[in-house]
Structure formats: structure tokens, C-alpha cells
Amino acid sequence: MTLSLSDPTWYPIASSEDLPFRHVYQGQLLGRELAVWRADDGNVNVWENRCLHRGVRLSIGINEGGELKCQYHGWRYANRSAGCTYIPAHPADAPARRIENRTYPVREAYGLIWSAANDDQPFRPFAGAEGYDWFPLRPMPVNAAPEDVLAAIARLAPDDQPADILPGLAIRFGGTYYFVQPVDASRAVIRGLLSTQPDLATLRSNNETLSKLRDRLERLAARKPAPTPLQPAFDKVSADLATMPDIAIPRGNTITVVVKRKWTSADGVIGFELAARDGHLPTFQPGAHIDVHLPNGMTRQYSLTNGPGELMSYIIGVKQESASKGGSKVLVETVREGDLLSISEPRNNFPLRRDAVRSVLIAGGIGITPLLSMARFLDKSSLPYELHYFTRAGEQVAFRGDLEALHGKVILHTGLPRAQIGTTIATTLGQWSFAQHVYVCGPAAMLETVRDTAAAQGWPEESIHYEYFKNDKVIDDSSAFDVELARSAMTLHIPSGKTILEVMREAGLTVPSSCEQGACGTCLTRVMEGEVDHQDVYLNKSEKVSNSCMMTCVSRAKSARLVLDI
């Protein structure tokens, strides 16, 4: 038989015990090098053994429990999806979420880790697999052609018990199975399975038998011409997986999720666990949010609280406001466990740097959600951080159990009077020094306090990161002006009382938007000419002053005409 690169057979590639937590195992199947690692949730990942940046082997990377970090340049990839979650040198501190390493199918069964070169065949147990507590022998790598190894094992069978050759380079005699893992054309690993738990003497004797077999096979192989090694192609990552989604393309792709769990996380905060119906959800970055499409037709943004590599479900926290106009109220009052919801892919307007010497996370109320996610990422990477969580009363502390599981400095500030909140923030921040970053999420007043205090204490704008949930400002839409859409070759008149976004939609354009209150950044547009009347809370001061970009959902023009890059 000749080995084929596209052979869809499932072969064992490791023993379960080869994958202790926080280890990265180096494997190979049919010429392809594999990085194999177990995440803290038990999931086994089988990936192509190279970082997408420079092809450095990921088997020398660091298994952080939810992400695998490349040792050389710090690129990180998420458990389950192999989606890249961090590129240190990326100007936006956030990679395109679609950059993904190549993964291979995986199954853990009978004390072995199984994989295949492709997804063409479902995994099936070998005949007689069920009903035993299998014990994997010490794997025996052999520098010889896999088919020669198989033939040699067959000759180990006693005369009265001829070997039973099974599909997939497997062989059975008595209660013992041997699987030959085809590493390459001239290399194999013998993986034995015993149907009973052996004692040490049995293990020694098996090991001795296989060692002798290996030595004999290698002596024979050395006398034969070596077969040509398999030449797996290093496919380029497809453009779809390796590029930033174009801002002008509406991101209409939605995912259907099941409300797996709904619970009261704190007084006034309802937790929702949204699970994928099949497999895992897309990769996300700390600080990312999803749009949730509500039964009443509204769309609302909620931050993910998940830690790294937790892709089986997203967990969000929703504030239960008695005076709520509709969005969250619908979610809290009418959506039940078992219901289906449409959500967007995660987007990140609140990227976390992971090269800081000190990260200060400040949360007010429900603003804890993105910061909890950030804390979990920093925690798993053993990076220094402190999380300050301000609530009016102790009962309002949401996700308390999750906070207690963190190893960083988590400080709850409960029921402080407003003045004291200010001084606490000032003391917490201290004077800025190089590579310190602060992240804040909470009510508008708190954001202002943190921004002003930080600025007063020498923190540069680039080191202050914040996310608004909503725009509390009163929008003045009394102006009227023209917009020229440079790409669309269209001029539109914007009357008072209508937003640029609304008029563009009426004119038949499909433009992305989400919160429509100047808080989320989805409708960010480049401005080519004209003076903008910014009314959003998304852009920072210097971005606003630069007059080079704007939010079309709330902002308007001070000049008679604006030219936009749409």
C-alpha cells in the first residue's frame, strides 16, 4: 500500500496521558506536523504545527489553558476554533477575528487521541472497542515504513492465535490491539492497547518486545532505499480567513443560539448563557460584544463575559431596568430558557493590550461585563492587573463567583458616595508611567470621572480605553445640510430631524450600523471634506478634532456640505 496525503482514515496520534494540562504535544500524521494540546476545559486541539506569522512551531508555544501563545512573536490562538485572538504589533491591537490556523478533526477515545487528515469520514470505534477499560502501552516510534511495521507486528502473534488484520493499519491478537500511526513514508509509531489494566512487569515485557521489534525493523529499513517523504503542502490561509472584514460590507451574518441558561446574577442583573446549536461559536477577543436581535425587532449590544477559548457558549449580563424602554426589558421579561435568538458575530471596539506592565480595569454596575472578560484573559496569561468594581450595594455585584475565581487583584467598592468614588479612582490610577493602561466601562458620569482624572494625572489619551453602553447626550438634529457620497457618486440632502444614516437607507444604500445612538462605532465613516458636528460618545477628543471620521447615526455637519468615503 502507498500512503496518501488525503487518506481520510482516523489514526491514533497520541495517548491521552501525553496531554497533561498546560503542555503542548508534538505529533505528526501522514507527513503533517501537528501541535496537540489540551485546554483547561478538557478539549483536545489538533492544529497544524506552525504559527501563521512566521511558521514557528506551535509545539514550542505556551499552553495558557484557553489560548496557545506563540513563543516567538506572541500571536495567540483560541481553544477549539484556532482563531487568532491577538497580534502584538497590530495597529488596532486587535486582529481580524477570521484569522484562523488549520485544525484537524479530533476524538479522544480508548485512552488514545485520534485524528485524520481530513473530515471526509466520521469517527467509528474499532471492532470490539466498547466495554473495556483500555490501557495504552508506551508508544514506540520506529524509523521504518508503516506497512513494514504492521507486517512485523503481525508476526509477533503466537501460532495458535493468528493476527487479525483490521482496517486502518490495525491488528489484533487476543485482547491486545496494535495501531500503526503513519507518521511519514518511512516513520511510524506503534500504539498498543490492552483490554485489561497491566502490572509494571507486563508493561516492561511489552516494552522490551516492541523495542526489539523496532531495532530489527530499523536495521532492515537501513538496508533499503528510504521511501520519499510525504510532501504536505503548506496551504495559504484563504483570504476569507486571513483578512479584516471590509467596513463597507454590511455584517448581516447572524448565528442562531439557544438560551441555555437564564439566571439572576445579582440584584437587577440577569445572566444569559447563549449556546451554539452545533459545535462552537466564533472566536472573540476580550472586550468584544455581540448584537442580540430581540423578538420585538430591536437590536442591542451586550459584552461577552467569557474567558479565553470558551467558545461553547457566550455569557452576557443584562441590566433589569424598571424604566427600560424596551430592549433589555424584552430580553429579561419574555425570553426564556430554550428559546432561540439571533446574534451577530462578536465585534470588538474595546481591545485589550497584552503588553502592559500594569492594567487597571474599572467597572461601574453592569459595566463589569467586558472587564470580567478582560480580567479572565489577563488572569490566564498571568499578566498583572487590578479590577475595581463599583456598585451601589453588595447585592448588585454581578458574576460574584466568577470574580472570586480570579487570581489578580479584585477590589469591590460598594456604596461609596460620589465624591469618594472620585478620590478612590484618583488613588487607584496614580501617576501614569510607561506601559500602564486603564480600561473603564460603566455609567457616563463614571467614564467622565476616569477620563478626566487620568488625564489630570498624566495618562495620555492612548492609555485610556473606555466603552459607552449608550449615548446619554441629547442629540441636536436641527441642522440641515448636504452629504456627497464619494464612492457612490450620490449627493443627498439631510433635512433637520433625520439622520444621515436614515437618508442613506432611504436612497437605497446598505450601510452597517448597530446601536444608532453614537456609542458602538459600527457606522464609523471616513470624512473627506467638510466640518463635522460630532454628537457621539465613541470617538475620543483628538479623533473628533482631526475631523477625519464620524458616526453617521447621530453626528451632523457644521458646514453646508460633507464629503464621505461611502
Partner: protein, 215 residues
């Protein structure tokens, strides 16, 4: 006062830096240009160590050479716990046995690395084969060790100088063209060594991720 005559890229010098870091010992480093300067064959160095080999360690007036011998000296002199080079004769002989293996690793894996990276005139293929032979034995020893609940090369329930002596040129083997894919138990052991409190890196030897228990 301890002084180490050191070459940053030498695994044998790194063994001493590693143990001194673990024992929290301070030392002065005197760099010796092993390559390309060949200062280890210079007259002033040969007066320190007539064998013309790095490392050399000076502790006040005492001048010592051979990394394995110095590891034993440092542990016996400065390790108050007595764990790194235990006094029990049976364990001492076990440790010395693995110090000898460390020398075998130097003459194979390190020789291949010197040939490929430092242009030494060694038989690369022979050195690589020799390294694979030792790594196979180590992998087997460590796999059965794990089965018996032993994490380290020697029988005590903690690392000894034997682990330090064998570690660097195992980690640097790829620089000599010797892959470690076939030695999963050996690779797991290198994770454990890299998690010893006080572990330091050198060029080519990088840290492991934190273990789950400590994370």
C-alpha cells in the same frame, strides 16, 4: 565571592547559572569569548583550567572546572536543604550516573550543535545518532518513572543536579538537528524542569507555561 567564567551560548555554563539562580546565589560573570574568539584556549584561561574548557568557577581562592563537578560543589556548599545533591550514598551514585549521561549528551547533541552552529569539524550524523540513542533511553526511563509516580531522573521526589546537568543540551538539541518529537515523556520532563522556581532562560531555552495548579 563567586565568579563564573562564562559563555552565554554554552549549555554547560548555563547549568551553573541555572542552579545558582535556583539557589539564589549571586555571582560575578566574566564573559569568555568561546566563539569565534577561542579565548578558552588563550594562555590566561589555560592557567585557570589546563583542560581548556568552560565553565570555570572561582569561589574565593578555590578554582573549579567541569560543569558536573561544579554543580555538586555548589549544591553541597550552598544548598541548605540538601535536596539538590543528596547525601544518601545510593542517591549520590544515581545522581553521578546521570551526570555521566549528561556528558554523553554533551558529546553527542552538543557536538552536533557545535558542528552546525559553530562550524566545528565533527561527524554530524554520528553525533545525531548518538543523541537519539540517549534520548530514547531517557524517554523510556521517564515514561516508566511517570508510571511509578516519579517526575525526575533520580528516585527522590524532587529534582537533583542530575536534572540540571541533562537539561540544557536536551533543550538545545534542535540546534543540532535532533528533533524531540519521538520523545514525549522527555518533552514533558523539560516542562517540569522549566517550572522549577528560580528557572532562568538562555538563548534557545525558553520558559514553559505555568502549570495549572499554580495558575
Amino acid at each position: 565571592m563567586i565568579t563564573l567564567y562564562d559563555f552565554e551560548l554554552s549549555g554547560n555554563c548555563y547549568k551553573l547559572r541555572l542552579l545558582m539562580s535556583i539557589l539564589k546565589l549571586r555571582c560575578d560573570i566574566i564573559p569568555v569569548d568561546f566563539y569565534p574568539g577561542r579565548q578558552h584556549k588563550a594562555d590566561w584561561f589555560l592557567r585557570l583550567n589546563p583542560f581548556g574548557q568552560l565553565p570555570v568557577l572561582k569561589d574565593d581562592e578555590l578554582i573549579l572546572s567541569d560543569s558536573g563537578a561544579i554543580l555538586a560543589y555548589l549544591a553541597k556548599t550552598y544548598d541548605e536543604t540538601g535536596l539538590w545533591f543528596p547525601d544518601d550514598p545510593a542517591v549520590t551514585s544515581e545522581v553521578l550516573r546521570w551526570h555521566a549521561v549528561a556528558d554523553d549528551i554533551t558529546s553527542t547533541a552538543s557536538a552536533a550543535r557545535l558542528a552546525l552552529g559553530f562550524f566545528y569539524d565533527f561527524d554530524i550524523e554520528k553525533a545525531q545518532k548518538g543523541a537519539h540513542r540517549i534520548f530514547r533511553l531517557m524517554d523510556e526511563h521517564l515514561w516508566f518513572g511517570e508510571k511509578m509516580g516519579r517526575d525526575w531522573l533520580c528516585s527522590p521526589a524532587h529534582p537533583t543536579t542530575a536534572d540540571i546537568a541533562c537539561f540544557p543540551y536536551v533543550m538545545l538539541s534542535e540546534e543540532g538537528g535532533i528533533g524531540r518529537q519521538d520523545y514525549p515523556a522527555l518533552r514533558r520532563w523539560t516542562d517540569r524542569v522549566r517550572r522549577i522556581p528560580g528557572f532562568v532562560v538562555m538563548s534557545g531555552i525558553f520558559p514553559a507555561g505555568r502549570a495549572l495548579e499554580q495558575a
